[in-house]
């Protein structure tokens, strides 16, 4: 592996200062994506600035809603009692991410900042309409997660910013959400994945939030499908239309993991299965 300098700042301020002064430096949290990219020579950073020694980044706070520090590991999320209770869809996604060894190291912020279309944690955050807090030396801003991703490996994060927190709204007692993921085997990157949140009232869908992974350049909200469902009674016919629309909306690619065709197919199946799972009835 290529040589690089390594820094471990103790505060956000120090970290941002280092980033400003060292050309070609990258932030590192768990490193489960970054180190692989460096080894594969896709990235050649001059220095790595570790965020693991900034204590406030690794905390979870339940405050009606929730604030999850960017350096919280996926295992931390799984072990947190209230987080799982309030946002079970988050734990479903966390459980599917990598292996135990990866989950012990990988962080939620890293998973987002890597900006992979298959980022497992992005989907539940998209349907929960989470916000991310981006901090620069001078200012802090909050961005809806749906505006965060710009393309594979690209986000709205400026080079002088750090993603510090993920902010979740208080859980809605009528909302139910679920997460589905297809890999080639269980420990795998998603070849297609889906998160779905539904608020039902008297058989009518009041609110639908759907996000799909690995089927577009970014983790994608399927707004057209949401609109189709909202205000309607969920019938077999509607589900069939929703499946069709979902398949049409996404723009997957063919690669070593799966074909474009298969990914589309799975998204359709998962729209149906997600609805079935939440509504507890067969919609075949």
């Amino acid at each position: 592996m290529r040589r690089f300098d390594y820094f471990r700042p103790k505060s956000l301020k120090e970290a941002l200062e280092l980033k400003k002064t060292i050309a070609g430096a990258k932030f590192i949290s768990g490193g489960t994506d970054l180190i692989v990219q460096i080894k594969n020579r896709e990235l050649k950073p001059s220095a790595l600035i570790s965020l693991r020694f900034i204590p406030e980044l690794a905390t979870i706070e339940i405050n009606g809603g929730a604030r999850i520090g960017a350096l919280v590991t996926i295992s931390d999320i799984l072990q947190h009692p209230e987080l799982g209770h309030n946002y079970p869809v988050l734990t479903e996604a966390a459980k599917s991410l990598g292996s135990v060894q990866i989950r012990n190291v990988a962080t939620i912020g890293g998973n987002l900042c890597n900006c992979s279309p298959c980022a497992d944690m992005a989907l539940p955050l998209l349907v929960l309409e989470a916000k991310v807090r981006l901090q620069s030396a001078k200012a802090s801003r909050e961005v809806p997660i749906s505006k965060f991703f710009k393309g594979p490996g690209e986000s709205c994060l400026a080079s002088n910013e750090i993603l510090t927190d993920i902010l979740l709204n208080p859980p809605h007692n009528k909302a139910k959400a679920t997460f589905l993921k297809k890999g080639r085997v269980k420990v795998d990157l998603a070849i297609a994945s889906l998160a779905l949140l539904l608020e039902m009232e008297g058989g009518i869908c009041r609110k639908a939030r759907i996000a799909a992974g690995s089927v577009a350049p970014i983790p994608l909200r399927l707004s057209k499908v949401e609109t189709l469902l909202e205000g309607a009674a969920v019938s077999e016919d509607l589900v069939s239309k929703a499946q069709h629309l979902a398949r049409e909306t996404v723009s997957p690619i063919t690669d070593v993991r799966a074909t474009e065709k298969y990914r589309r197919q799975i998204v359709g199946v998962y729209v149906k299965r997600g609805l079935e799972k939440i509504l507890g009835q067969s919609l075949a």
């Binding site: 692989v36 297809k182 085997v185 070593v256 197919q265």
Partner: protein
Amino acid sequence: MKNFRYIGKETSRPDAPDKAAGKAHYIHDLQRPGMLYGKIKFSDHPHARIKHIDTSKAERLSGVRAVITANNSPEVRFGFLRDNFALKKDKVRQYRDELAAVAAIDPDIAEEAIELIKVEYEPLPGLFSPHEAMKKGSPLIHETDSQGRPRTDNLVPLQYHHESGNLSAGKRAAKYMAQGEFSTPRVQQCCMGTAGCLAEFDMNSNLTIWAKTQIPFLAQRDFNRALSDMGLNDKNTRVIVPALGGGFGTGLDTHAYEYIAILLAFQTGRPVKIVYTRDEEFAYFSPRQSSTTKITQGCGQDGKLTFREVEVVQDNGAYTSWGATYPSVMMMPATSLYRVPSVYFNAQLVYTNNTYCQAMRGYGNPEHTWALESNMDELAGEAGIDPYDFRMINCNKPKETTPMGLKVSTCGLKECLQTVAKKLDWKKKSKKGKCRGKGMASLIHVGGGGRIYRSDASGLILKLDDFGNVNAYHGGVEMGQGLHSVLTLGIAEALGVRPEKVFINPLDTSTCPWDVGTHASRGAFMACNTAILAANKLRDRIFELSEELFPQEVEKNLEKFIKKNPGYKPPDFDFIKAAKRERFDLKDGSIFIKDAPREPWLSLDLGRLLRAIHFRTQGQMLATEVFYDPPNELPDFAKGFGNISSTYAYGTQGAEVEVDTETGEVKILRMVAAHDVGKVLNPPALKGQIYGALAQGIGYALYEELQSEKGKILNPNFRDYKIPTAQEMDFPVDLEFIETNDSFGPFGAKGVAEPGLVPTAPAIANAIYDAIGIRIRDLPITQEKILAALKKLKEAND
């Protein structure tokens, strides 16, 4: 049946504690004073002329001690057909061809130096499918053979052919026929320990190499030849095999990286270590060969097979390894799995610009059994016979001689089939509504050595010390499979000592006797046969010496015993007269007279007797050596005839699966595996072999494929090369071992290392067919393939 003291009892492996504690030393852990790290520059093209290699920048990099290419180092030729070179001079024939190598003071500098090497190529048209490469007028991958004679085509000059019975009569007699073309992908062995070696010369220019090999003695021969090529005539190689993290066939050949390490070590005068990274292991190391098999079988009204016709085409890749001899093993199931009177078998191997391939567990047998056992179900379907009944009708029997001339001694196939049918509730069909189905498949494999070289032998030296310890020097390779466990048990059982008194010494060609290699499931069979021979020789010697020394020592025992127990009256037994060699026995490290009264003083600890032998005037130390060559034949593969093994292993596996018809996902609900192992030596070790093999077989069936595009490996990492993990093995596995107590087998045992993965893929494929009526003919059976086939079936039905 004989009662065994240790054989068949659960015994922990002697190497387990060190391995569990991380104390075992693998190649990766080895360090030598002054050691350098070697790294290889591989080709950027699948087929191209090499115009120029510029190493000047790499040479100037600080910390680099040597940069070698074919232009500044001796030519070293190697390979099964000697068609490969350590470093390529004129052209590259695959992406992984070795063009240059560096030795540097640390691995990062070596890697940086490699990036500084620039190569100019003149690209040539590439051939990436054997069918394309076989066409007349295709560009030649090798213009000449190893003798320098011009070549005219891309066929590998090896012949595998068999004809027996009367094929046309067999076809006429067939009431039903089924034909299918089946293919298998290149898959990687995925050893936990990647490939690597450490080469070091002494000041006399003799070489020591720590190697990840399964053939230390054939490797010694190969490396000595390389030393001659380097101008080091009459110099010797000492091969040392440290702890290995798996072999699975990767160690059956010597490899370019080993010759490169040797060249670098010689050039620098320093020890040089080369260890592949996981990515290198995937992209630049030889996988299992891919093959296509066209098979036709026919049977009569009664379900009895009348003929079998098989054509195999195997993608050899750019060079030839021992893996090119897969058809020698394919021929075995083709001629001898189930009784079939007329057989035609032909295999052709073709050079391509794909990565060249090598041996992997099963060695052609999983490839062929995949086609054969899938086609058996197809034929059973044609004939309207239940697949289990169909197999029973054609089942092999003990003491038969098969069309290939295999002399079957014991055969537990019938029992294996019955066991699987019973445990899988075969006649009770799966619930169709849930898309569930059951399938089974069987196997035959060599179980008593496998002669593919002029000697199939193995040696053992046993050395006894003053404390009754037994030091063993054996040429077989412990690579994680548990060979040392069964060798320990075999020696303990046959000699009559406790297993913890047996010590297996590290494998070193300078101390251990010759062995052809640990392949063909022969490790335990050979090791335990040598153990029995050596133990018998030692026992004879011990009992002979006991005639004089036993009474002397026992006399002393008696005096002491009487002193301690005044008034003790010894029984009326003349132990001096009874001390005859044929009346002695040795058990649990104690020597005694078989028919003597069981008195505490009337037996001797082995260590005490050995000390008595050692320290008397003109004393002696006991050691013995044996060499065992099993009773089998080197077949004539061009004629397809010969008894390759002294006994054969059989087995049947069954699976019940559930298919998700919306996603194509296959879930295995349960598996049953019944194997004729002759005799169980160490139950947990044997179970480990079969569980591991099943996981590998499931990977082969459902997930694994080394994907490539125009010769370039597309998924050279575990991110995209998927093998099953514990989460895929989440179903019950019911194992049953059929003990046929083979007369050639040590303690009755047959080889078991490979059989566990041979029938797994067709068993699963047959279950999938039973569940959804879809037959996939190219492995792996991915969820995508199933979904596409279901769609096609639906369209056809609509």
